[in-house]
């Protein structure tokens, strides 16, 4: 038995019956990380000491039998935008290279309470700005299926870690596809949660009104177990949802078919530019879902074509403000060698931020400036409302929508980095979901030239249970999610 091949449920059973210890399991993962990650490069920080200490505590907890949860003693990794007390939290930016937060984000606190073990922090595009991890201030993560390919982004490190068996699950963060797109490229299951379902407290923001934390794992069922642990209202986050959290895993266990479920296929998502094999795989998956009893119908989301410009405009604007605090005064990089205050600001930000980050700060500052606000930011918000309405209308007649996650499989490292617009367009199927704040699940549904393909299942606000049920039943009949890359 190889420990890293167990599902979360199996791992839990091994741990709770004390056939294995958390320390043993944790060491096995740390050993894999040490051996395999130099090629994959999914981690920016490995928190070995903390992991072993947390594993020791988990073993004590298991021994005493008190307050055991499904995730007690199970290791995981987290995107480096989630604040972890005393553990480097860099957002893969040089400006935060040695930053150690003195508090935990709520999602991490929730996993601490569950007794999970933090292995380390995953590489990402700097502050979440990118679709390939090539914008990381440190290095590019490789797609475990093909080291010449990108893992997707911005949660590329988390997706690659799960795909390569370097963590049984990971916490990602999705601002405009950052969980779903890398999940699709790496062949893992990733959930973009409803905005506000998981507290953002301690999540270093890219776009405060889009950011969502979501689980990335090897199956919809594993995702449901993680979601149960991290979701819920948080009084520290004024935008967090107050509705109580469902018992997702219990509901998945009971699910038998998809009878009575109406699935919409938005025609605007099956258009020119969509890779033929991706198209065929997703359509085949839809057929499979239909065979599970769901009713499939075509729907329209007429404002889809505006999603990319609207998304990026709002992103630039909010990001330019969210990134203002990196001024070299209180934490992170501080260039204080010469000059006055303005020099500290300019040098710190010039040295600390990467090119893409600077580009977005400048565009956002411009879009919010006097005389331009109405034409850009305000207009974008108005169109955002229309896009949201599109979804509301679609959900009047269906319970979920299915589309591809990305128009292609993972592209080559270096292929798009010199053309930002091309890179932005790889997000064409994912960003509208963040504009609407709805949840969406990325589920592996095929391969093309040895690279995974993902389908996107989306639903109305707080429909996570429905999405996970669709994913779970689909995975109970298919084996795409059980396939592993060569480095596994």
């Amino acid at each position: 038995m190889k420990l890293h091949e167990l599902s979360l449920q199996e791992t839990h059973e091994q741990l709770s019956s004390r056939k294995i210890s958390s320390a043993e399991l944790t060491r096995a993962y740390l050993e894999r990380v040490q051996r395999i990650d130099p090629q994959v490069k999914s981690y920016v920080t490995v928190s070995e000491d903390l992991a072993l200490e947390q594993a020791r505590q988990a073993d004590e907890r298991i021994k005493s039998g008190d307050g055991l949860t499904t995730l007690t003693g199970i290791p995981y990794s987290a995107k480096d935008s989630l604040s972890t007390r005393g553990v480097n939290t860099t957002c893969s930016s040089k400006i935060l290279e040695n930053y150690k937060p003195f508090y935990d984000s709520t999602a991490i606190t929730n996993l601490n309470l569950a007794g999970s073990v933090l292995l380390g922090k995953n590489n990402m595009d700097e502050f979440g700005m990118g679709s390939s991890t090539e914008n990381s201030g440190f290095f590019t993560t490789r797609n475990p299926w093909n080291f010449d390919r990108v893992p997707g982004g911005s949660s590329g490190g988390s997706a690659a870690a799960v795909a390569a068996g370097l963590a049984p699950f990971a916490l990602g963060e999705d601002t405009g596809g950052s969980v779903r797109m890398p999940a699709s490229f790496c062949g893992v299951t990733g959930l973009k949660t409803t905005y506000g379902r998981v507290s953002r407290y301690g999540l270093i923001p890219l776009v405060s009104s889009f950011d969502t934390i979501g689980p990335m794992a090897r199956s919809a069922y594993d995702v449901s177990l993680v979601l149960e642990a991290i979701a819920g209202h948080d009084p520290k986050d004024g935008t967090s949802r107050v509705e109580s959290v469902q018992n997702y895993s219990e509901s998945l266990k009971k699910a038998e078919n998809l009878r009575g479920l109406r699935i919409g296929i938005p025609k605007e998502y099956f258009v020119e530019g969509l890779d033929k094999e991706v198209d065929a795989s997703v359509r085949a998956a839809i057929k499979q879902i239909e065979s599970l009893g769901a009713e499939v119908m075509e729907v329209s989301l007429p404002h889809t074509q505006y999603a990319i410009p609207v998304y990026y405009l709002i992103l630039f604007a909010e990001a330019s403000s969210n990134l203002a605090k990196y001024d070299g005064v209180r934490f992170g990089l501080s260039e204080r060698t010469t000059g006055d205050l303005m020099d500290v600001y300019l040098k710190t930000r010039e040295t600390g931020f990467g090119a893409e980050t600077k580009r977005r700060i400048m565009l956002g500052t411009f879009a919010l400036s006097a005389g331009y606000y109405d034409a850009y930011y305000l207009k974008a918000q108005k169109v955002r409302a229309l896009i949201r309405q599109d979804f509301q209308k679609a959900f009047e007649t269906c319970d979920a929508l299915i589309t591809p996650v990305a128009p292609t499989t993972a592209f080559r490292i270096g292929e798009k980095i010199s053309n930002p617009l091309d890179m932005y367009l790889s997000d064409v199927f994912v960003v509208a979901i963040n504009l609407a704040g709805i949840p969406a699940l990325s589920v592996p549904c095929g391969f093309s030239n040895g690279l995974p393909i993902g389908m996107q299942v989306m639903g109305p606000h707080l429909s996570e249970e429905t999405l996970l049920r669709i994913g779970h039943l689909y995975q109970s009949q298919t084996d795409w999610h059980t396939k592993h890359p060569p480095c596994w």
Binding site: C91, P101, F102, P205, E318, S320, L323, K325
Partner: protein, 480 residues
């Protein structure tokens, strides 16, 4: 050519909440507290920290909005005001912009020409910044104050003189104290002013470029800064020049404004709705319950003092200008059998003079209102004279004690025994032959001087009426 000033004020008032605007940190005295002890990830702008609204701050702000007769909006929006400065940890201040909490209020002020209504444009909530200090070529930042709730109250440009600005500022301070939302301690910087000033030819309806004077932290500085700015702008126009729109600082020691930023360097704050906070939605019933719990405000108290105590409007307004003073007056008046007018004269006169002399404020007074009332009644009952009572009051304010006991110890009881007074009168007349001569030659105003001499000789014990009669009699006798 005559010029008239157009003045608008922005007042920043810290709100008396226990915790900060967007986090649970305690609000402390930013002058005495040790620096950076009352801070957390939120108020120091740590990456990932999020603001959460302080319900109490909203309640206090609504209280002020209602007291100023504003419309309280059912929905208002917080916005980010973006600029870089080390005392601003997030790189933006959370404030309100195009949808503030309250708008369209008014405040009545007393001017030389009578009561004037000053329109209030808006009242909104925001957070205070940290505090910078500089020493030995280093700058230090204290974030204790960062995130303390601030209320910004903005007038329409309806003020027309430094005195009006001062009257508005002090009337507003009184209201904030009445509402118990601000301590009113100007020297601690809990209320700060910014004035927008322009001048134009009298009678013109033209609007000229205005300057904004920042850092006006006392009533005196407020009036001085505006005064200086009016003179400066008037001088520029009268020699045919043009006033530039700019932001000014005020040097209190020199009494002068100085340029901080020109129009070209004006900040573009790039306001946009704060995505970390949902719109602030206020329940109508909640607003109503705050309204019903509003205390009596200065105008209402003034009216009541006029009708209940038969005071003149200006006497009443003097007392109600400060909540503590009004309370003190009411308690003295309630314990005293003397007319309220008499109580007012004692408080407005000797009592205030003593406070001013010792640099104390009404809050420092330990003298029980009942003792003060007892003293005033001793004068009314002619047990002691007015001059003697002044001596006792000073003693009471400085060292405390019982008025009757002090009168006894100092031997200040008034005497109307004619032989005792006659003796003093005879001595005074004998000792001052030249004044007697002048009086008899027709300078009858000297009579009051003689009364004073007798009062001094008797240590204030002589009844002034009996003294006057005895003096007139004695002087007339000497005419013969």
């Amino acid at each position: 050519m005559n010029y008239e000033p157009i003045i608008g004020l922005e007042v920043h008032a810290e709100l008396l909440t226990r915790s900060k605007m967007f986090c649970g940190c305690e609000v402390v005295d930013s002058i005495t507290a040790k620096p950076n002890r009352y801070i957390c990830p939120v108020c120091t702008g740590q990456p990932g920290a999020l603001p959460v609204l302080n319900r109490k701050a909203i309640e206090l702000a609504v209280r002020v909005g209602l007291a100023l007769g504003c419309e309280i909006h059912a929905e208002s929006i917080f916005a980010r005001k973006n600029y870089f400065y080390p005392d601003l940890p997030k790189g933006y201040q959370i404030s309100q912009y195009d949808q503030p909490l309250a708008t369209d209020g008014k405040l009545l002020i007393e001017t030389e020409a009578g009561i004037k209504e000053i329109r209030i444009r808006r009242v909104h909530l925001e957070e205070d910044t940290g505090k910078l200090s500089h020493a030995d070529a280093h700058s230090f930042i204290d974030y204790n104050r960062s995130g303390v709730p601030l209320l910004e109250i903005v007038t329409e440009p309806g003020l027309r003189s430094p005195d009006e600005a001062k009257a508005y500022a002090s009337a507003l301070r009184a209201i904030l104290r009445y509402l118990d939302v601000n301590s009113g301690d100007m020297e601690k910087g809990v209320i700060r002013f910014e004035a927008n000033v322009s001048v134009r030819k009298t009678g013109s309806d033209q609007l000229n470029p205005r300057t904004e004077i920042k850092n006006l932290n006392s009533f005196r500085a407020l009036a001085q800064g505006i005064e200086y700015e009016i003179a400066r702008q008037t001088e520029i126009y009268s020699r045919g020049g043009i006033v530039e729109q700019e932001t000014l600082g005020f040097n209190e020691a020199a009494g002068k404004t100085y340029s901080q930023r020109g129009k070209e360097d004006a900040h573009d704050y790039r306001y946009f709705p704060e995505p970390d906070l949902p719109p602030l939605v206020l329940d109508a019933d909640w607003i109503h319950s705050i309204r019903t719990q509003l205390p009596e405000l200065p105008d209402a108290k003034t009216k009541r003092f006029i009708s209940d105590f038969n005071l003149t409007p200006s006497d009443a307004r003097f007392l109600t200008s400060d909540l503590s003073l009004a309370h003190y007056f009411e308690r003295v008046a309630a314990s005293s059998k003397s007319p309220a007018k008499t109580v007012h004269s004692w408080i407005a006169g000797e009592f205030m003079r003593n406070l001013n002399d010792s640099g104390a404020s009404i809050g420092d007074v330990t003298l029980a209102p009942e003792s003060f009332a007892q003293l005033i009644d001793m004068v009314t009952d002619k047990i002691i004279g007015g001059n003697a009572a002044k001596i006792v009051l000073t003693e009471l304010l400085q060292n405390g004690g019982d008025p009757a006991q002090i009168v006894k110890e100092k031997g200040l009881a008034q005497v109307s025994d004619e032989s005792f007074i006659q003796e003093a009168v005879t001595k005074v007349l004998n000792d001052n032959p030249s004044e007697v001569e002048k009086y008899l030659a027709g300078k009858e105003t000297l009579l009051q001087w003689f009364v004073g001499q007798v009062a001094r000789a008797t240590k204030g014990k002589a009844d002034p009426n009996v003294t006057r009669d005895a003096l007139v009699k004695g002087l007339e006798e000497r005419r013969k």
